[in-house]
Symmetry: C2
């Protein structure tokens, strides 16, 4: 399949921030012939139509999946496996199925374990974009532009589905990175899940009286602590081991700062700070991530 | 002195981001008859004139201070005491002297200990505004608009100087909060210095390969780690004990998250997250900080 071909009818399961933004981008870019939203709450789905996120909606899985050429599951990570399995009950034999979950190991192995041969049409995906504000009201057609989407194809994936998943996410404006589910989860534990944990820990630790005297450092440092408790509890639990390791690495860095400050060693404090800065600039200078890039 | 009176000739010692922004605001708002920049590096001072941050410059302390009605010292925290003491060697007997240091305890006690009777004309101040990008090039005339400026007047401060310091900072667009130097340092340790430390610890802990897969959470969470190593080493050292306490409080929060995640307790993880969120919203709802507000 060439990238310029239509994706046909796309079914989006879960039309919140991510699902709604996918729908808006598909419609704005003319990538699909029809965008169907599938969910449980009719009033939210109706709102998604009003906002231009989807062409139509249904609460009936059979109705949505039986006519879809592509399906993207945008529900919370704890629901994705069962949603994908349900999709395969009704989907056409040629349909490509992908998801947008922030964790990949548990999802991909769950689908492999439950979907039988259908699993070859599932391509795990994680478009790295979002907001601390959930819901279709905050959807944006440009949410995925110039963002990375990680695909985690595993052994039984058929070539056709993989090519269509690449075309799907690339069509939304993403550049594609491919790696294993396990590697994805390790990297995202450090780069996304840890920053969420420390934002909340900062919020939790500040004395109420100090907040009126805060400025940009505190505001930016706690921004993502406003994210949904349900969503993030699910992500943390689905990525427990890699996240615990990332936190341990982070705590070790914090401890080396504390040691330097306790002993009041100017040079050590400064070098600690400079080392952190250098890591940021080194990494910005590296144009190629070490994972496999398909672009 | 009424707030609408001219501040007269203002000398700014140290024309970087903060000093430059003060000069721009004074000039844009017509608050001073003359804004004189004092520093050591002529090329930087010349650039400050070009950028409209100051009317003129000198590298001679006597020349700047002997004609100033107000002096604001905007050098790094480790230099402020000696700069204030030097200022008193040349300043007029009526001149009001203030500073913009991010730490107040060591500075105020240093001035009290070194300046003799002149200390009554010094009003410690901390306008809570800044940027991770230093230097006069990044100065902005609106940097202080709608920001809080903390004043830490101590016993020998004369009424006239205090009123003029209030008028000075209020004139730049700040609302004024007054408290003790020690209380300031405790509150800022949690609300500003700690967020800087954890931003750098996050930057230091991330594997290089994970950075291409980061998005807003990591970017915002590490933004202030780009701040000057020299400036921040000085701030951390000048506020060691309160900062160590703030870090310990923060580490305890992080540890309680780790315990909940280790035992995979969904309810505990979620409640930890909700408690952090609640702290942010509670504090936003509180309109009055518990410190004394003069507004």
């Amino acid at each position: 399949m060439r990238d310029s071909e239509s994706l046909g009818t796309v079914a989006i399961k879960g039309v919140g921030l991510i699902g709604g933004s996918i729908g808006m981008a598909l419609r704005a870019r003319g990538l699909a012939t029809r965008v169907v939203g599938l969910g449980r709450d009719e009033s939210k789905l109706r709102r998604a139509v009003e906002l231009g996120a989807i062409d139509e909606f249904t609460t009936d899985p059979a109705s949505a999946y039986s006519r879809a050429d592509c399906v993207v599951v945008c529900t919370p990570v704890g629901s994705i496996v069962e949603d994908v399995v349900e999709c395969f009950k009704y989907a056409r034999s040629q349909a490509m199925v992908t998801d947008a979950g922030s964790v990949k190991g548990t999802i991909v192995s769950g689908v492999l374990g439950s979907a039988g041969r259908d699993a070859e049409r599932f391509v795990g995906a994680h478009p790295i974009a979002g907001s601390e504000r959930g819901g279709v009201e905050f959807s944006r057609r440009d949410l995925f532009e110039n963002r990375v989407c990680v695909l985690t194809p595993t052994d039984p994936v058929c070539k056709d589905s993989l090519q269509r998943a690449r075309a799907f996410w690339r069509g939304l404006g993403c550049s594609i990175v491919e790696t294993t589910p396990e590697r994805h989860d390790e990297l995202l534990a450090s780069g996304s899940h840890l920053p969420h944990v420390i934002a909340a820990a900062l919020a939790a630790s500040i004395p109420i009286e100090a907040i009126p005297l805060t400025a940009g450092a505190f505001r930016d440092g706690t921004r993502v602590a406003a994210s949904s408790a349900e969503l993030w509890t699910g992500i943390f639990q689905a990525n427990r081991e890699p996240l615990l390791k990332a936190i341990a690495r982070y705590e070790a860095e914090l401890t080396s700062f504390v040691r330097a400050l306790e002993s009041n060693q100017e040079v050590e404090i400064k070098n600690w700070w400079l080392r952190a800065q250098q890591r940021l600039s080194t990494s910005r200078a590296e144009s190629n991530p070490t994972v496999n890039v398909d672009a």
